[in-house]
Amino acid sequence: MQKFQRIRWFVFLVLVQVLVLNYVHINHYATPLFYIYFILKVDSDIGRKNLMLWAFALGLCVDVFSNTPGMNAAASVLLAFCRPLLLRSQILRGSPDVFEPGIRAMGFSHFLRYAFIGTLVHVGMLDVLDAFSFVHMRALLFAVVSDVLMTLFCIVCVELVRRRK
């Protein structure tokens, strides 16, 4: 992704998240947190620190609109911190050095595993920070599972559509 295109994606994903997706619930659960698609898709050669700063800015922008200063930012930075590890664990041996993580470059099952673990890290952190206690354990687990499934569903759909182009 070029710099300009990256900024365009950034603005687009923040607006879609805060104006549409934040209001999507199924029985008060299952909110898609689709904006992390940005962090998952950045080219593999980006520096770890660079990516963390991007993730911090992205999370903070979403936070500002949803009155949760620091929450989405903390979860996004954690995801950005973990991403190189995840990517290395799901990489194929013959793949090129620099690539854009996706179904095309990694294959469906590897990308799905990569996206699933990434989403789980992000949503887990976010929901734990939101609840800030383990008293209602069942509700918390249910929130994590439903949010992960919803987010993963959105990511895979968009990825399949974009691959066909």
Binding site: L15, N67, A74, D130, H136
Partner: protein, 280 residues
């Protein structure tokens, strides 16, 4: 020492990670404890404007329904005013006394109309953004009501926007009472369904029936007495067994709130300063 420096230089991305997370947590905890951090919320100028634009578009889709409800409410109030006027006429021999009483009931309160531009109901800590701020005379700790009932309390204000701590936030606590029998408790919401909240600390000897109306008590300076809150839906013993816990079906439908009123007592300052002087 040299080893330590080498170590820090090698793993400097880890330091950046810790630094960013610390910033996030500072923001998070400051927002929850300190009321001045309006900049990083949707009451700041840019975010407020975007929310306003988006809710302006969304509002059009509900206009028909809003109109219908307003008309229904209008007719209801019209009938109530008529009935009350007749009742007052019956009691007072002198009509000027009645008029004087009616005028005085609203003299003590200022009302500012405002619009909801951003709202959440599905999280645990819900907040709401209004399109009026400190430049319009809104101050923290003013009450917010809508046509059906109580909404919340102003939490913090920017120049043109303000954030409301609605009933649907565990931090909110509003003093209320049963309209029929005057026993009072306080209103709390603990997550889950946004249509139901709980009244706590209702004494064991209090009298109530399912279906009784709960209204604000007027014991705090925020809300005047008698603003409707909801109806008693269910009752259980509190955890310590010393009082009742009433489940209340709220009159306010937070999922479709668009127009609200910010209400404040003219004599609030006098009253709070008097209450502050009492040492607890």
């Amino acid at each position: 020492m040299r080893n330590l420096l080498d170590f820090l230089l090698k793993y400097n991305y880890f330091l950046l990670f810790v630094l960013l997370e610390v910033i996030c947590f500072i923001l998070l905890f400051r927002f929850n404890s300190y009321q001045g951090s309006v900049f990083f919320t949707s009451a700041n100028a840019v975010a407020g404007k975007v929310c306003e634009l988006s809710s302006g578009i969304a509002r059009y889709w509900g206009l028909e329904e809003v109109n219908r409800r307003l008309t229904a409410r209008n007719v209801e109030l019209e009938l109530e005013v008529e009935a009350l006027r007749r009742a007052v006429d019956g009691y007072a021999q002198d009509s000027t006394v009645a008029r004087h009483l009616l005028d005085r009931a609203y003299d003590n309160y200022h009302v500012y109309p405002a619009r909801v531009v951003n709202n959440s109901i599905a999280r645990l800590n819900n907040y709401m953004t209004l399109d009026k701020g400190s430049d319009d005379g809104i101050r923290p700790e003013m009450g917010v009501v809508c046509g059906n009932g109580v909404v919340g309390i102003i939490y913090m204000t920017g120049p043109h926007h303000s954030i409301v701590l609605p009933v649907l936030n565990p931090k909110s606590s509003i003093s209320c009472k049963i309209r029929r029998t005057e026993y009072f408790g306080f209103l709390k919401w603990e997550g889950g369904n946004p249509q139901y909240a709980y009244v706590k600390d209702m004494p064991r000897h209090s009298e109530f029936m399912l279906g009784d109306t709960i209204v604000t008590s007027g014991h705090s300076a925020v809300f005047p007495e008698g603003i409707p809150v909801g109806t008693v839906d269910d009752m259980v013993d509190s955890h310590d067994g010393l009082s009742y816990l009433l489940r209340v079906k709220l009159f306010t439908d937070f999922a479709r709130l668009t127009d609200v009123m910010v209400i404040t007592s003219v004599r609030k300052e006098e009253r709070t300063s008097l209450e502050d002087r009492v040492e607890f």
